[in-house]
Symmetry: C2
């Protein structure tokens, strides 16, 4: 009833589809898989429930599709953050702190995607193994690899000191973001900005004690 007046645009087929996907992402993230009813997803998408079942076989397929999308969205967003802060850092410590804060607190329109990551954790034991596996490789795996690449470059430039950038990247995420993640229940509850910054700066200092250039 909403899109009736506005000509649906000649974007073509996937017009309703993207609305469904967006709505499913929102509702799944907000309610979790079971609480999210197909009716509420349809309402959120301003779409008939039948239309959802025209696009997806059942509720689970809808979830899996949306999970896959979100995995890529989060990964690309984080890769972008990493590049932005580590491409040519002037004050390395400050950039690492800023990057850590950005990675640990999903901002802008990505909260829904991070909420879906929580769904992956909640449903992990009930999801097909290929889903959890591909999430790890396409999600955290990609950001960790991107981190490692930058660390290798920085090490070659004398800004860091490590022979194993992979391990350094792992230690960065562990020291800098893992506690903020857990403290905020994976982003489900808000973490005061000052606490976040304290956690991240402490982690970055430890990281630089491990891998800083001037020892």
């Amino acid at each position: 009833m909403t899109a009736a007046t506005t000509p649906p645009a000649r974007t073509g087929r996937p017009a309703k589809r993207v609305a469904i996907d967006r709505a499913a992402r929102v509702v799944f993230g907000r309610e979790g898989y079971i609480r999210a009813s197909v009716d509420s997803i349809a309402a959120e998408a301003h779409v008939s429930k039948r239309t959802i079942y025209n696009h997806y076989q059942d509720k689970e397929q809808l979830l899996l599709c949306v999970l896959k999308e979100s995995t890529h969205a989060v990964a690309e967003h984080q890769e972008e953050l990493i590049d932005r802060h580590l491409a040519s850092p002037v004050d390395l410590e400050a950039e690492l702190v800023a990057l850590g804060c950005a990675l640990a607190t999903p901002q802008s329109g990505f909260k829904e995607h991070f909420a879906l990551v929580r769904v992956i954790f909640a449903e992990a034991s009930r999801l097909p193994g290929e889903v959890t596996d591909s999430w790890r490789t396409e999600g955290p795996g990609r950001t960790q690899a991107r981190l490692a690449r930058h660390f290798a470059t920085l090490s070659a430039a004398g800004r860091l000191r490590t022979d194993e950038p992979q391990e350094a990247a792992a230690h960065f995420t562990q020291l800098v973001t893992s506690e903020a993640y857990e403290r905020s229940f994976h982003g489900a509850l808000p973490l005061p900005a000052d606490e976040l910054e304290a956690l991240v700066t402490a982690g970055v200092r430890a990281f630089l004690r491990l891998y800083g250039a001037r020892s």
Copy 2:
């Protein structure tokens, strides 16, 4: 029908109660809060559903009660592990590795308790704030404090080197256990023993590079 033959013992009133609690812990942990039906909990406890509602006001109160119990059980178990490995360590690195493995993989009858921790994460945004808060202080907070105490002692004995045992304890859990936690989806999926040991030993080595005695 099961306890009919055996005399219910004069343990007194809470006989059925503990059965209910145990069953709720098992089923909530296995299925999550919503999937766990009160009927299935009653079946697992070999108890009438009506009896559950004689002991608890509703399903949510049952969950909250069981969560509180599990918080303490996990905390005590982990404190015990910490004491056992760090009371008088001969080979400190080996003990730290063993402790890290023990902390990162819930064994014996504690898997159900750890499964409930997953429920806390899954329901965090829908739980009363006091519940999540008290979980943090009574759960991870206690184990971290116990770790810090041992690190302070070890530092005084010259086995470690840190002025801030609190921070050292945080970095230990982050470097040693956090990745194993995330890799296993908080214990929901099994993590191969060799991978676990590799993660933990790498974390311990980094920890000792940060806080080891001989530098």
